[in-house]
Amino acid sequence: MKLRFTRRSFAALPFALLTLNTLGCGKEVVRGSNDPSIDNNALSTGLDKDDIQRALKETLNNLRAAPVMNEWRSTNPPPNVAIFPIQNSTSEHIDSMLDALLGEAESWLVESGTVQVISRERQTQMIREVEGQQTAAFNPAHAAKYGKQLGAKYFITGKISGNDERSEDMRRVQYFLFLQVIDVETSAIKWQRKTYITKAIK
């Protein structure tokens, strides 16, 4: 009886070890339209589609009812509006997502039909002309200058800052996103809205 028990154990050992060896293998590529749940999980402390959509929904709903929007609706011909990059003052490389956010805002403005949106390609060219070839990066301090040269009456821009903290078992980033509409002539802030987003690994 004892020998039988030992034989079974011996037979089971290799299979148990092989099972352990093969666990965790196998990955598949999934399409979001087939499995919408893949968009639900946060994978990092950066910004994702869900964060951008939430932030924009809240912000653009506010802009829709803002006095500056009413002013645009009643102006004929519609004013020219430029969209300048959001200044990233966080500890995350989220510039591509901020670009996507501005792209969504741009689409919303175009669809609203209340303003003429200046193409962003022209803006890049203008920034290059203002800053010179060596430093062709957008400088927020020169935003009004770019706006004037583009013939814009207003520009939309923003700033995102973050508070990044680390403990032994957690990393948390709190984002503070500000979007603004600025009058090119006077530099007056015609509209501003803030949104908070928090992401953490724990």
Partner: protein, 456 residues
């Protein structure tokens, strides 16, 4: 009757041995640990062939080219991506280096945060490399420091500021939470962060970082920048005040600035060792507890399947070389910014005792498993004895010393900062037979960063 029993026992033994060999062979052959995965890469780097080194890493990561990231970057692949990031930087392929550094940074942070008690138990019972990788402080700090360099090389101050902020988060964590202060890697990181903020026009932030860099030896070239910036900002500290004492602010001229960063050699990587328990007890008797020593001595007395598997540091490479930097055929004095190899060795000294103890504890655990099998089979059972030895041998083969580390870190990094008159200049940076030659155009008030990572 007796011969029948022996015959039956023999058949069982044969079957068992065959099954065991089938299962164990792939592990014994395939589990050389991390150092075996990087052998081809190191060999290529030793020969000065960085492209072949990238190919070797790609092969290990199972990707087609250096542009691809592995499907799974959650495990040890993150360290290989980190290795590749440094080599890409050495090849002056900064966009790919950035991509790798950023992917590895996130993954290594995730691994660090995901560590739990189970990992430690695994390290003490099963295998040294069974736990999740925990990057030592110098590695975490170097990721952001070297990636900041990538952004400065590509004149992307926004990206460089992000890396400077990430560096500060880790620095604060080590200083305030883990009470690990003053890592010399921060000297270089603070110099680059100060440079980034200076060129971004954020004077006080630049002075704050320069102040941190001045806390470490070297960085004499910061003095002139501090004297230029101080009148424009309000940040002051005893070190900044000492720099400003008795020195005039340099006058405005038509010069531009160039920062040279030269990394050379490679830090010591980890190698695996298998030595008999008797020898291990001779080497490390001071590191283990009296109880463990008694148990280990008992095992040593048996003289059977008693191997201790543990990692140690291999010699570093090229630390004592002298890099050179020529500007229009005149030599520029480089000053040491950080001796990374010394950091690796100091950090290793802190954890070496714990690693040896865990290796000996694993040996004792293996022995206990063997004893358990023997007891279950019966004290005098031949099959029980063979099974016990087989299980111990299997577990010994499975015990892979943890040789994971960032192997392509430069052993030393030196810096120089010069002001040049407007015009075109020729720069030649050379270390360990790797050279970078570049024409640079200097304008009044312009800046440039030129680096070389000679990982040979």
């Amino acid at each position: 009757m007796r011969s029948r029993l022996l015959e039956t026992g023999g058949r069982h033994l044969q079957r068992f041995a065959a099954a065991l060999a089938l299962v164990v062979t792939p592990w014994v052959v395939g589990c050389g640990g991390h150092e075996a995965r990087t052998l081809k890469m190191r060999t290529a780097l030793d020969a000065g062939n960085a492209k072949a080194a990238i190919e070797a890493v790609n092969e290990e990561l199972d990707v087609k080219s250096g542009k691809d990231l592995p499907k799974d970057i959650k495990g040890d692949n993150a360290i290989l991506v980190l290795d590749r990031a440094s080599i890409q930087q050495g090849l002056i392929d900064f966009p790919l280096s950035k991509q790798d550094f950023e992917a590895a940074d996130k993954s290594i942070d995730m691994l660090d945060l995901a560590r739990n008690a189970g990992d430690s138990i695994g390290e003490y019972v099963f295998s040294g490399s069974s736990g999740r990788y925990q990057a030592p402080p110098y590695e975490k700090l170097m990721i952001n420091t070297l990636n900041m360099l990538n952004y400065l090389e590509t004149r992307d101050l926004n990206g460089a500021r992000i890396e400077a902020r990430r560096l500060s988060v880790m620095q604060k964590y080590y200083r305030d939470t883990l009470d690990k202060k003053d890592n010399p890697v921060l000297g270089l990181g603070s110099l680059l962060a100060g440079f980034t903020y200076e060129k971004s026009g954020e004077v006080d932030e630049a002075l704050r970082y320069y102040d941190e860099a001045l806390a470490f030896t070297g960085f004499q070239t910061i003095g002139e920048s501090v004297r230029r910036l101080a009148p424009l900002g309000s940040y002051r500290s005893p070190r900044i005040a000492a720099v400003l004492k008795g020195e005039e602010k340099p006058g405005d001229d038509d010069t531009g600035e160039v920062l040279f960063v030269v990394g050379y050699g490679r830090v010591a990587h980890k190698i695996s060792n298998r030595i008999p328990i008797g020898l291990a007890l001779t080497y490390f008797s001071g590191a283990i507890s009296p109880n463990d020593r008694v148990a280990a001595n008992k095992i040593a007395a048996q003289g059977l399947v008693t191997w201790v598997n543990f990692p140690s540091l291999a010699p570093g490479r090229g630390k004592w070389d002298i890099p050179s930097c020529r500007l229009d055929n005149e030599y520029v004095q480089l000053e040491e910014a950080v001796d990374v190899d010394t950091q690796v060795r100091e950090e290793w000294k802190k954890i070496e005792g714990k690693i040896i103890v865990s290796a000996i504890t694993r040996l004792i655990a293996r022995f206990a498993v063997g004893q358990g099998i023997q007891a279950a089979a019966g004290k005098d059972s031949v099959i029980g004895l063979v099974a016990s030895l087989g299980a111990q041998a299997t577990l010994t083969a499975l015990d892979t010393p943890d040789t994971r580390s960032w192997e392509t870190l430069p052993a030393r990094i030196a810096v120089a900062r010069v002001r040049l008159p407007a015009g075109r200049h020729r720069v030649v940076v050379d270390a360990r037979g790797w050279a970078r030659t570049q024409e640079i155009a200097v304008e009044k008030g312009s800046w440039q960063v030129v680096s070389l990572m000679a990982l040979r």
